[in-house]
């Protein structure tokens, strides 16, 4: 992760500020930075989204490909996650330097999607045991300015919302041979329900308090953080402690309560932004990286 050098005095300034519920950029402890979300930015994917959270910049592309279902789940499709920490973010990621972080984030994503309610995987099945849709969710990390996990989960949710999978029909002839027919209409596609897709809320423990959406400087002051994935209904689907420090059990429960509260608000605002953008339809002026 991008390196930030902080002196002792700077650290004390941040820690004392947090105790007074006042952060360097004027936010309170439970406030997010301004999040910019734009969907459908890469036209040759099934769905894509770009999320900018402060200096953190994430691009997610979803590609739907046909494949065979997994043996243990013959009537379900599945999601594959890949995170590319590009050298754009920091020169340390050059070559294979970003692989460790990439794998860690991808594994976290697998874990938060590893429950039946998050995505309706059955709708991805075309014919049981033979064909299903595989959604390759590829995350590209372009710049990191703190709070990677939250930004990535928001981007993944937005990209899945934007994903359109072509509708296919399975035709069977008299001899039992199956044939897959793709719809002629390019707009005839299925859309995934992202109602229950969770978002990650990371809480950084700074001093005696915890903050939401920490910047790089604040992350440098924090010893441990708790990563909680919350659905729009406030259900916790996964929890993980990251960082080199330790947390006491009481604060873990406190942080969980905060994450539920913050997560609900985050989901509501994200949903409204996504629906608003979708309602504009193809007439929407795409900004992408030019704006």
């Amino acid at each position: 992760m991008a390196f930030v050098a902080l002196s002792e005095a700077e650290k004390v300034y941040i820690v004392h500020g947090v105790q007074e519920d006042l952060r360097m950029d004027g936010r309170g402890c439970e406030d997010y930075r301004c999040v910019e979300v734009e969907t459908d930015v890469v036209s040759n994917t099934s769905g894509s989204a770009r999320v900018k959270l402060g200096h953190t910049d994430i691009l997610v592309g979803v590609k739907a490909e046909m494949g065979t279902p997994k043996l243990e789940k013959p009537n379900e499709g599945y999601l594959e996650f890949f995170v590319d920490c590009s050298a754009n973010a920091t020169p340390e990621f050059e070559g294979r330097g970003g692989d460790d972080l990439g794998t860690e984030i991808a594994n976290t994503l697998y874990r938060i999607f590893n429950n039946k309610s998050s995505v309706d995987l059955k709708s991805l099945c075309i014919s049981p045991r033979e064909h299903c849709w595989i959604l390759y969710v590829d995350v590209l990390l372009l710049e990191c300015g703190g709070n990677l996990f939250d930004a990535i989960s928001i981007a993944v949710k937005a990209a899945l919302f934007n994903t359109r999978i072509p509708r296919v029909r399975v035709l069977e002839d008299e001899e039992g041979l199956k044939d897959i027919e793709l719809s002629d209409d390019p707009y005839d596609c299925i859309q995934l329900s992202v109602e229950n897709v969770p978002c990650i809320v990371t809480l950084c423990k700074i001093g005696y308090r915890h903050v939401v959406d920490a910047t790089l400087q604040e992350e440098a002051c924090s010893l441990a953080s708790l990563l909680v994935s919350v659905t729009s209904k406030g259900v916790v689907t996964c929890m993980r402690k990251v960082g080199k420090g330790s947390l006491d059990p009481e604060s873990v429960f406190e942080m969980m309560e905060t994450s539920k509260r913050v997560g609900k608000v985050l989901h509501t605002s994200l949903q409204s932004v996504l629906h608003k953008e979708e309602s504009l339809g193809p007439k929407r002026q795409k900004v992408g990286f030019l704006g």
């Binding site: 890469v42 592309g61 590319d84 754009n88 020169p91 070559g95 992408g288 030019l290």
Partner: protein
């Protein structure tokens, strides 16, 4: 199956362009705040990001430091979702390594490396969407990023691809035209001196026709230069307004 008609009798290409016409180019400098220089370019549907770090101290082994000039370090990577079919790895495959080397050659010819001895300049390009002419888009994006970083260069480096179909040279090939398998030429030009920083040609082309293709590529690269120059001027103007007098 009849082959795809790349150039109609009326002289139009598959996407409706004339033979020497470029795709729409849009660019922006200073996309990211953390990098020393960054730029984004769209050439038709090909989209590329370039980021420059440096000149800074040599990272890793000191033995790589050059006593008389800066080391130019390039990495090309292409997002896994950038191509029609999903890629397995964003970088590290043969094509990416080759692209990285070509970019390095191109920028060693253009950057005034002797001004920064024993240091390193990193140029990272990332293709977000590939629709033909990725090398050209990368070079153009990287030029803007190097300019944004304020690293002295001899000149702009402007790149463009060209192909040859039915006796006519086509400038700025799209993916469809590249996939058809005709001869392809990639050219990086230093426009004010007319010097060539990189020239590469794939497939077979008769010697007599090379001049025509080269001419088309050169003209296209000059057109790119006009556009990039406009982008840089606009960026500088906006930046100076922000700074105030």
């Amino acid at each position: 199956m009849a082959g795809l008609e790349l150039l109609s009798d009326q002289g139009y290409r598959v996407d409706g362009r004339r033979a020497g016409e470029l795709r729409k180019i849009q660019a922006r400098m200073g996309v990211f705040a953390q990098a020393d220089g960054s730029a984004y370019i769209e050439q038709g549907n090909t989209k590329a990001l370039a980021v420059v770090y440096g000149p800074h101290e040599i990272r890793g082994s000191r033995a790589r430091a050059l006593p008389d000039r800066a080391l130019v370090n390039c990495q090309y990577s292409s997002a896994t979702f950038s191509t029609g079919e999903r890629k397995r790895r964003p970088h590290g495959d043969r094509k990416s390594c080759e692209m990285g080397l070509q970019l390095r050659q191109t920028f060693e010819a253009a950057v005034l490396t002797q001004l920064h001895p024993r240091s390193q300049i990193d140029i990272y390009v990332q293709v977000l969407q590939a629709d033909g002419g990725t090398y050209a888009a990368c070079v153009n994006a990287a030029t803007l990023a190097v300019l944004d970083a304020g690293i002295p260069m001899r000149d702009f480096v402007c790149a463009c691809s060209a192909g040859f179909v039915d006796g006519t040279a086509l400038a700025d090939l799209s993916h469809v035209e590249e996939a058809a398998g005709g001869p392809q030429l990639a050219l990086a030009l230093l426009p004010s001196s007319g010097q060539i920083a990189l020239l590469e040609m794939d497939a077979r082309l008769h010697e007599d026709q090379l001049e025509q293709v080269l001419e088309a590529a050169t003209q296209a690269a000059r057109d790119v230069h006009t556009l990039l120059d406009r982008v840089v001027r606009q960026h500088v103007q906006e930046a100076s307004i922000l700074l105030g007098d």
